[in-house]
Symmetry: D2
Amino acid sequence: MEINGVFIEDTFAEAFPIWVSRVLITAATERLAKIAATEATGFGCSVIMCPAEAGIEKYVSPEETPDGRPGYIVEICHPKKSELEHQLLERLGQCVLTAPTTAVFDAMGEDADEQLKVGFKLKFFGDGYEKKDKVGERTVYKIPIMGGEFIVENKLGVKKGVAGGNFFIMADSNMTALTAAEAAIDAINTVEKTITPFPGGIVASGSKVGYTNPKYKFMVATTNHKMCPTLKGVVEDSEVPEDVNGVYEIVIDGVDEEAIKEATKAGILAATTVKGVKKITAGNYGGKLGKFQIKLRELFE
Amino acid sequence: MEINGVFIEDTFAEAFPIWVSRVLITAATERLAKIAATEATGFGCSVIMCPAEAGIEKYVSPEETPDGRPGYIVEICHPKKSELEHQLLERLGQCVLTAPTTAVFDAMGEDADEQLKVGFKLKFFGDGYEKKDKVGERTVYKIPIMGGEFIVENKLGVKKGVAGGNFFIMADSNMTALTAAEAAIDAINTVEKTITPFPGGIVASGSKVGYTNPKYKFMVATTNHKMCPTLKGVVEDSEVPEDVNGVYEIVIDGVDEEAIKEATKAGILAATTVKGVKKITAGNYGGKLGKFQIKLRELFE
Amino acid sequence: MEINGVFIEDTFAEAFPIWVSRVLITAATERLAKIAATEATGFGCSVIMCPAEAGIEKYVSPEETPDGRPGYIVEICHPKKSELEHQLLERLGQCVLTAPTTAVFDAMGEDADEQLKVGFKLKFFGDGYEKKDKVGERTVYKIPIMGGEFIVENKLGVKKGVAGGNFFIMADSNMTALTAAEAAIDAINTVEKTITPFPGGIVASGSKVGYTNPKYKFMVATTNHKMCPTLKGVVEDSEVPEDVNGVYEIVIDGVDEEAIKEATKAGILAATTVKGVKKITAGNYGGKLGKFQIKLRELFE
Amino acid sequence: MEINGVFIEDTFAEAFPIWVSRVLITAATERLAKIAATEATGFGCSVIMCPAEAGIEKYVSPEETPDGRPGYIVEICHPKKSELEHQLLERLGQCVLTAPTTAVFDAMGEDADEQLKVGFKLKFFGDGYEKKDKVGERTVYKIPIMGGEFIVENKLGVKKGVAGGNFFIMADSNMTALTAAEAAIDAINTVEKTITPFPGGIVASGSKVGYTNPKYKFMVATTNHKMCPTLKGVVEDSEVPEDVNGVYEIVIDGVDEEAIKEATKAGILAATTVKGVKKITAGNYGGKLGKFQIKLRELFE
């Protein structure tokens, strides 16, 4: 199969369950909301070594938010629900409550499997000066701070979602692959209920489980040498085609499998508009580990 | 004392020792360097609930970097040296190694108290395909990744620095105080060897040690009710002047006390250029807890 | 009438006919499209002294563009149709054709009153090496350039639209008014078919027709002294309320009156969410000059 | 000659005299200064079809400006001094005076050949309510506006400078060439007294004088077909090497020849750090037209 002249490999992305929260951060202006959302979702690429997987999902205009102010929806994810609650308390408590003019609302809505009392727990910061109130139908706490009041919704919904949706972009040069990856991210940024948690949404360094070098037995993950262009002529099992000199991966987390599929499709379509892209493939473990299989070609049938 | 017509309180900021790393992240373009630096320093406001205090110190032009590419110097800080090493391994390994086209170099140079073998430890990700090499006089490892090679310096210098430098901006309206805080951050951004780790550099919610509400005995820190404009007429011990309706704090970490002082001075000067700012003060614990005392008025004598 | 506690004056904005073009600029990535769109719409605040009124209307995701790439819709406006064609040729020819990876498509669609042969005229730059082609149903020219091919649609639709929609935000401090103006712009940015042509969408200096100072008879427009906070106690006819210290105006151009109304409403609503805003009013000439009257209170009935 | 493995052609850039102004725009915050500077320098690529050549030169920190606020230095250029004055009046009067919290100061200083009374002429907008005053040693006018006061220096220095400094980057893929061009711009952005007036600093479409197609005799300039990668196998006189698929040009204007040389050198050095760049060359007319010849190889000797 080819899309815009780019070969789509007959393979699938293997993805895993993860607990997902979906939170709306509003502020006096779009810019202020983005500052808070960026800080709150930083250091959040992969739970392998980051305390959570996190990213900005999308901008929400003032017309669509509970308080009539601009905002960003962020998703924060963790395999364990209890750890996700910690992450919410820490990231919202340290990176949003402290940020100018912000408020926090649930954005999971009816998708939620469970409700975590995040606002209820953050309210104690108010030392008794906080007030329980309503914003529309939502129960919130208003906590006095130096910059006015921090408003946070009582409960935030969480859900068993999907982590590790992915595809790989292979291109004639490293910069072609990178530009195509950026185009993919631009497309995915308008797909609801998904995030791309890596820096700028893009993964420059793929990893494999374990090691091949017997001296490195202590490593649980090492570079995916088969996908490194500089090792094309060096390793025997290279999977980098002759005409490919750059490879980037897009990793997608999201609220449900449908959202991951839609994001994967939109991302691949956009990537193929960049001239010089040669091949799209995906990462999996033979279907042994992950619960979800996103078959690339089925997305376009 | 008045600066540009703004009252400077006769007080001091109380600051604490902290272990500081100072790392240069370069990339193919300034924009790509910033993406990596932002992700690596996110979720890094205060070690009270964040895993580190972290921020972007400054931009470095291609002419001034070891590899002739644009970059950003970041600082990552932790009270414990061993935890700082973990943070460096995690933040550089997950948020920079994975980011497109990046390289990592030591920027602490001769200021360092000790050297941590961060590059040496990250190199094992290369699964034996990494190469030891030189960039100028620096020993680096080149690790093959999908996006080419990730280059990381063998050792990164760390130093006992200073955390918690601070000052407060009080103004006629909340938005005046916030704009003045932004002006302060703009000024501090060009002061070397300092960062302002909170979102956008600005703290909207001051905290006090402990609680006053007897029902909240389990809280180790709560809102600094004395500094909340909305509690002016509510609490008896309010320290918010009658004509003040917005208060923001700037928190500064840095390599040494001199840098903190220079940043504090530059920040206060810039804040006072915004019309409507009424008063500058600072936070301390009566000099009982912190090793460093930055006296505001002495900065201008 | 009050909205969110802010007084809405019983007045109207007076607006004028203007020729409007609506053009989609796509590029390999959102960032590259924005660079071109920003350059093409610069120096475009008011036709009083700028060669056109111009601005970015909105972002369009790859899923919604003719070439599957991200883009921005811009509007470029001029009272004379022939001058608008010149402006299109100059701005698209100098600021978009020269910008990396761009393409230009009509975005006026069925709203158009007339078609201008802008692409047809730009194609001559191709020196005969250009090709006539199709993108979907659209007739385009592909012009060889150093960075590949510049693609431009044969004809661009123009329409008699509306210029000079406006409202004024008055607040307790200058920075409150400015922040409210930014919130208004954030809201208007998601209203289709409108732009706010001034810097950042905001006007800091209102003007009146003519002069009051008899020595300045040569001036056709001077500062609107009645609206200057610093002249509150100086001029007898000040219209700045006692509790107001900052005033900003939002000026809106657009494809039709309905769009201007929708933008005005969204902007006012957002502005009133910023605490300290006191009053919203609008600018008119008693209804003598402009064809359109946008009555503020009717928007909320 | 090779730099970082990239062939530097033995040729020169041919540049021309132009009248240059160098103006500092300050504002309450860096962000507000940038908004004004961007609008004021838009639609300013080439005087072939733009009303001026204009760009942002550099950021200036609050510590270094006359009013202690952050700012940007912009350069606005025109071959005719009288037209440059018009452009200054229009661009500063429409795009900076109208922008929130701005002030305008001369940044040409002792480099100036002449002084233009730009501030003096803009002051009449004040309708007699303006005040003559001093900021440090500088004579300024303070003009009341809705957002407070617009401050503008009485006279702005202009100088006979240099336009059309240039070099071309040729690379294996279009996106490699573009990324290298971005790296070049990052480097030039820290070279004082120069601007790169095209969108994002980069030129995607080179032009030649006149035409080759006899049907296009009415054209004074057409695409430089010799430098178009898509015409490599089509035209006989192609100058695009076999292994090159993307070409971008950097055009540099500046205060004097030394600044242009320094920028050219810094830009080329940065461009060669991007892997896949094959060749650097420059544009000239055989030395017949331009007064200045910037020889590429001499920059590195």
